[in-house]
């Protein structure tokens, strides 16, 4: 079972339907977390949402508690939530992308995805990762083809994955394939 933690977002149920293609799903609001479901889940997903990771301290607690014990996936705010919990700085960006389709590029050899592959994705983020960023076993594996902003992280040792863009958006090409790959990793 995959447990999706909803940060009151208007895209969360797209995430739910996308993951439902691959496994049973439970989804609860971040302030109504069910401990039983949390313990039972094989995978925890942090949903997109408004605001910044510092607004959701409980989600960071969950991350820290289950890191290395369960597969953890973050999308948009969820991606930032993982990074924030790994002591990264999340900052405002000058150019903001909301509802924007842009190209990302796989930039790492260690990615589950093929290096240099480019594809179109849907973006809804005000904030971004401040670089340089370093955390043990984490690697930035995708970047915006134009601005170079970090678009995906992978920690294949501890099975932690995050996307700054929205794989569930209708603007993302092959979003299902991305999710399928990290779920079977």
């Amino acid at each position: 079972m995959i447990y999706i933690i909803d940060h009151d977002d208007s895209f969360t149920h797209n995430v739910v339907h996308q993951f439902a293609k691959f496994d049973d799903i439970e989804c609860d609001n971040f302030n109504e977390i069910n401990q039983k479901k949390l313990n039972k889940a094989k995978v925890i997903v942090f949903s997109p949402g408004p605001g910044a990771p510092k607004d959701y301290p409980y989600s960071s607690k969950i991350y820290n508690k289950f890191k290395k014990k369960k597969k953890i996936i973050g999308i948009c705010l969820g991606f930032q939530q993982i990074l924030h919990s790994e002591n990264a700085k999340i900052i405002e960006q000058n150019k903001i992308y909301h509802g924007f389709q842009s190209e990302v590029k796989v930039t790492s050899n260690n990615s589950l995805f093929k290096k240099n592959k480019k594809f179109k994705v849907g973006r809804y983020h005000s904030l971004k990762l401040k670089e340089p960023f370093y955390a043990k076993n984490f690697e930035i594996t995708m970047r915006c083809a134009i601005s170079n902003v970090a678009m995906a992280i992978e920690n294949n040792k501890d099975k932690i994955y995050g996307f700054q863009f929205h794989p569930e958006s209708f603007l993302t090409e092959n979003g299902n394939l991305l999710i399928k790959k990290i779920l079977s990793a």
């Binding site: 895209f11 339907h17 439902a20 949402g49 408004p50 509802g99 809804y124």
Partner: protein, 387 residues
């Protein structure tokens, strides 16, 4: 009876009635056997009991009416602070006993019409609007909202003949979700173009509009489509709404069933082009009417995105009640089918005051002066009726 005579006689009879745009013309509902004024106390019971009615096959086996903005907030657990403005009911539904089909041509002449006060006052002047605008841009930069729609109101004192208004409005703008409610103490006249819910059996769809272009000689349908497709700001706003509506539907639909049936097409009306998408899905078994309403309302395209956080920002900002504006009008049949629009481009006439609300969106690259005048253009189409 022909449309013209019918309108005249019902106007004379002073009976309350409702008119709603249908495929071929208009449907008129009257002879109300029940009128339910919604409160936070009775709304759950009202909605849950509709499907318990035994008779389901008559064309009047339905409740028709509206949910105001505030009660829709309350239904999803959001409480706007106490606001100023008309103390208008939060929602009203009627049980009709008669349904009459009318043609698209609504001729109606009232010989006793008096000149109307056409002087309107706006509740937020340009300076304050600019201030609110830049405040929300900061909220966008910090990620609390991605798109937010500020409401402004135009108001005057006048006693209107709503049938006259509705007929003249339908003549210039035959909107697919137009409606009129005429009751003893108030009336609502609207040329809403936007369908929020169409539900038949386990099929449900929503048809968000994001992007409107006034018809000029310069444009035809293809050029209008090019205009929107090339306009990055309009495209982004529209994309956001499409993803949000997909998610709202996904809450109540079976996984994998939610599809974008029409993606970013142009719909042509007499005076306007609309940039429209149609999103549909198959309802999960045992989805209740209340589940559907709570998932879809208030309609996202007139609020902004993401819904909850944006509603909270709006409610903290707006000092006056939105009343009917961005609520929903429509009907719920006893068999569970329903149709609802989003209440925009509407005049609320209550206690001899007319209120016209309009809104336009703040996104990261929108321009305050442009949106302010856009609001005026939207309101002007309705204010012109007072001339």
């Amino acid at each position: 009876m022909i449309t013209q005579d019918y309108l005249k006689s019902i106007s004379k009879s002073k009976k309350p009635f409702v008119i709603y745009k249908s495929n071929k013309g208009f449907d008129l509902y009257t002879n109300f056997s029940k009128k339910i004024i919604l409160t936070n106390k009775n709304i759950h019971n009202f909605i849950n009991k509709i499907s318990k009615n035994r008779s389901k096959n008559k064309n009047t086996d339905l409740y028709i009416g509206f949910f105001g903005y505030e009660i829709l907030n309350n239904l999803i657990g959001i409480k706007p602070p106490k606001q100023k403005g008309l103390k208008f009911p939060k929602g009203i539904f009627y049980k009709p006993e008669i349904k009459v089909s009318l043609t698209n041509k609504l001729n109606y002449i009232n010989e006793d019409l008096k000149a109307l006060n056409n002087d309107f006052k706006i509740n937020i002047n340009k300076k304050s609007y600019n201030k609110i605008f830049s405040k929300f841009k900061k909220k966008i930069k910090s990620g609390q909202t991605y798109q937010i729609k500020i409401c402004t109101k135009y108001r005057n004192k006048s006693k209107i003949d709503p049938i006259d208004f509705f007929c003249r409005l339908s003549e210039t703008n035959l909107a697919p979700e137009a409606f009129l409610i005429k009751d003893k103490e108030f009336s609502i006249v609207s040329c809403s173009p936007e369908n929020l819910i169409t539900k038949k059996g386990n099929y449900i769809s929503t048809k968000p509009i994001a992007g409107t272009l006034k018809k000029t000689k310069k444009f035809n349908k293809i050029k209008a489509l090019n205009f929107f497709n090339k306009n990055i700001k309009e495209t982004k706003e529209h994309n956001m709404i499409v993803d949000m509506e997909r998610s709202d539907l996904s809450k109540i639909c079976t996984p994998g069933s939610v599809k974008i049936v029409k993606k970013k097409i142009i719909e042509e009306y007499r005076d306007l082009y609309h940039y429209v998408s149609l999103v549909a899905g198959k309802l999960k078994r045992n989805t209740s009417t209340l589940d559907i309403i709570r998932s879809m309302m208030p309609g996202g395209s007139v609020i902004g995105c993401p819904k909850i956080s944006t509603l909270n920002l709006l409610n903290a900002q707006e000092r006056e009640s939105r009343n009917i504006y961005t609520g929903s009008f429509g009907y719920i049949k006893f068999n569970g089918d329903m149709r609802f629009n989003i209440i925009i481009r509407a005049i609320l006439n209550y206690k001899e005051y007319s209120e016209i609300s309009v809104a336009s969106g703040v996104v990261i690259d929108s321009n305050s002066s442009h949106e302010f005048s856009e609001n005026y253009i939207k309101a002007k189409a309705l204010m012109d009726l007072y001339k």
